[in-house]
């Protein structure tokens, strides 16, 4: 089973890598085509970017969907997931568009689905490159808050790199359009009592990913969404 899932080639096509992208035209082509070259099916969801992200992502092996308006990362991921399911995906991987994730980590995540229903990437089990101390502290804090909210004991919070089996996707539907989707996902994993495993991954922060990423203060908005936005 494990070998079947991790063998490059035909079976990789059954795994869809969903990449939500917003104003990422400078890096999306490289990120998406690299993942596609590994043999995975790739769908990039351009979340109503103001730049030519959708055009940049149009490379062989990559399906590009475009939101007519900007809805948020949670909505974009769910669009990609819905599409992948319609195309008969067996596994779904979520992958960040800004290049902070390593495509070399995907086989381990998908392989972990042999014994688990969902595999979450953990940069604290793995490694973090290019992060300043302040960011690391912020991330540690996020892990504490997240575990508190979800009632789970995880080593990382809200790592965008994860994999799950298609059959559990309906129980993981994201209705938080913006950034609170990551907390929502954890809550749904717990509610559905899914078999979960954490897999070490490498997260590489670059000047670009930091600039396009979340600021610490945006945590306030995420918490607001999580608690006050009816789902």
């Amino acid at each position: 089973m494990l070998s079947e899932l991790t063998t490059p080639g035909a079976h990789r096509r059954d795994t869809w890598v969903v990449i939500a992208a917003f104003n990422e035209h400078s890096v999306i082509r490289e990120v998406a085509s690299a993942v596609a070259d590994d043999g995975w099916s790739v769908v990039v969801v351009d979340d109503g970017s103001r730049d030519d992200t959708a055009q940049a992502a149009r490379v062989p092996g990559v399906v590009v969907l475009r939101h007519a308006i900007n809805l948020g990362q949670g909505a974009a991921l769910q669009t990609g997931i819905d599409y992948a399911l319609r195309r008969g995906a067996r596994n779904i991987v979520t992958f960040d568009a800004d290049g902070q994730h390593a495509r070399e980590d995907i086989p381990a995540l998908v392989g972990a689905l042999a014994d688990a229903e969902i595999a979450l990437g953990s940069r604290f089990l793995g490694s973090v490159e290019g992060a300043r101390r302040r960011r690391m502290l912020l991330l540690r804090l996020a892990v504490l808050v997240s575990n508190r909210l979800s009632g789970m004991q995880l080593t990382d919070a809200h790592c965008g790199l994860r994999a799950f089996r298609a059959e559990v996707a309906p129980r993981l539907r994201i209705t938080q359009d913006r950034m609170a989707h990551a907390s929502q996902l954890l809550r749904k994993i717990k509610e559905a009592k899914l078999r979960l495993v954490e897999v070490p991954v490498t997260v590489r922060y670059t000047a670009h990913s930091i600039q396009n990423g979340q600021h610490g203060l945006q945590a306030i908005r995420i918490l607001f969404d999580y608690f006050f936005r009816p789902t």
Binding site: A36, V43, V45, R58, P60, G61, V62, V63, V64, L65, R66, H67, A68, I69, L71, A75, Q78, T79, D82, Y83, R86, T175, D177, R229, P230
Partner: protein
């Protein structure tokens, strides 16, 4: 007395607008016109509000109206916030369907331009 003319005029204008847009259920229209009538009475006979206020245990009629308006506004706000969130979910679904549909159209009937055709062969 100018204030009475202004208030009655405003109430009448609201009534007229509601009358023009009477595509609601009859019960809605009835409720609105009852409220307008009560408002009109309160403008013409302000002492009446004092009596009602005294009856429910509030000092002055004007105070009672303030409280009622505040609570009503909060209710209306909540109502529209709920609607707003609901609308946002619907918008998300429409946008999502549109994105997926366009993706499928591009895949199954690629535009004649070269990028579409290579996109198609790779996607299947």
């Amino acid at each position: 007395m100018i204030i009475r003319i202004l208030l009655l005029g405003s109430l009448a204008a609201i009534g007229w607008l509601v009358f023009l847009r009477r595509n609601r259920l009859p019960i809605h229209i009835l409720v609105v016109f009852t409220l307008l009538a009560v408002g009109g009475l309160a403008v013409i006979f302000p002492e009446m509000t004092n009596e009602v206020a005294g009856f429910v245990g509030v000092g002055r009629g004007a105070d009672l109206i303030t409280y009622v308006v505040a609570v009503t506004m909060l209710f209306v706000l909540l109502h529209y916030y709920t609607k707003f969130v609901e609308l946002q979910h619907q918008l998300t679904q429409v946008t999502r369907e549109l994105a997926i549909l366009r993706g499928e159209v591009d895949r199954l009937a690629p535009p004649s331009a070269p990028p579409g055709s290579e996109h198609d062969s790779s996607a299947t």
